[in-house]
């Protein structure tokens, strides 16, 4: 009997330890201040947000999608002495204990082919996937085109 009781005790302690290790651990990635600059006529819209990495290891944003748009792409605006163009970004590193802010003229998410009508005042969702296999659901508030930031 004694070995079985000990085994059971060990098992209980082990599962208790395992259970306490998961809750209370904050996710490494946090997304804040998400907003979309709406454009009329079903035109591609730009999404902006700030990604913070609270973990000890750098993580990379490797995929982005949305239940509200048919296509989402991460781009960066590049200015070559007066000529602007957009570059597709396949992988964006978020440094450990650091953050990356998407803003007009810089990193932005190109949101195309909305699956339902989207208007200023709405909230849309993005799924951001990272190099460690984690995924974050981000909420972005849709703003009218004249709002500067």
């Amino acid at each position: 009997m004694k070995p079985l009781t000990s085994a059971l005790a060990i098992l209980c302690l082990a599962s208790a330890a395992a259970a306490s290790a998961v809750p209370g651990t904050p996710p490494a990635i946090e997304v804040q201040n998400g907003w979309v600059r709406w454009l009329p006529g079903g035109l591609p819209a730009a999404g902006y947000l700030t990604i913070s990495n609270h973990g000890d290891k750098a993580l990379a944003l490797v995929a982005e999608s949305s239940p509200d748009y048919g296509q989402v792409m991460l781009h960066r605006t590049v200015n070559n002495g007066g000529t602007e163009h957009m570059e597709m970004v396949e992988r964006l590193t978020i440094p450990a204990h650091g953050s990356v802010k998407f803003s007009p003229g810089n990193y932005h998410l190109m949101l195309m082919h909305a699956v339902h009508p989207v208007a200023p005042g709405n909230t849309i969702h993005l799924k951001l996937e990272f190099s460690d296999g984690s995924a974050v659901d981000a909420e972005l508030k849709v703003r009218p085109p004249t709002q500067i930031n």
């Binding site: 600059r37 009329p40 591609p44 296509q71 200015n79 007066g82 000529t83 003229g105 082919h113 085109p145």
Partner: protein
Amino acid sequence: MPTPAKFARLASLLFLCALLMTACDRQAEHWSLTDVQGHLPDLEFSLTADNGHKVSAKDYRGNVVLMYFGYTHCPDVCPTTMAHLAAVMQKLGSAADHARILFVSVDPARDTPALLHAYVNAFDRHASGLTGTPGEIEALAKRYRVAYQDEKPNASGDYEVTHSSGIYIFDGSGHARLLATSSDSVDTIAHDVDRLIQSAT
């Protein structure tokens, strides 16, 4: 015949006037934005406005024109610039009645008058969208040395257009006067545009 004293005073007065006039002249030439007077041709074009009508530069004479080349499928740079220019119109207040924003499309294939109409009106009522045949757009772009190029379409057929991003500012007589970029503040642009508006009245 004036006395020597009176003559001296008259001479001083004339000298002072000359000095003031020169000083005024110098001040009138100081702009915050890049001064391009005499370096770019007068505003001339033949295009289609967002109401579907053919227009020429003459239709905008009497207004200070802020001209920007862009396209509606551009999600970041163009809307950022248009929002910036809309803020300039807000800052101008009633003076904006004598200003116009001209958004010239470098993507006439997709930018129909109807789409341009929805686009410019989402920003400011002083904005007009202009489109035309590829040749008409090319003629205006060439006139101001504006470069633009369609990029390769992706699998869905979407494509981007690389383009110069300057804001060309013309006075009410159609003369090219100033060049701004979106890094010039709303206050700076509004200040210079207001001076151009006031100098015509």
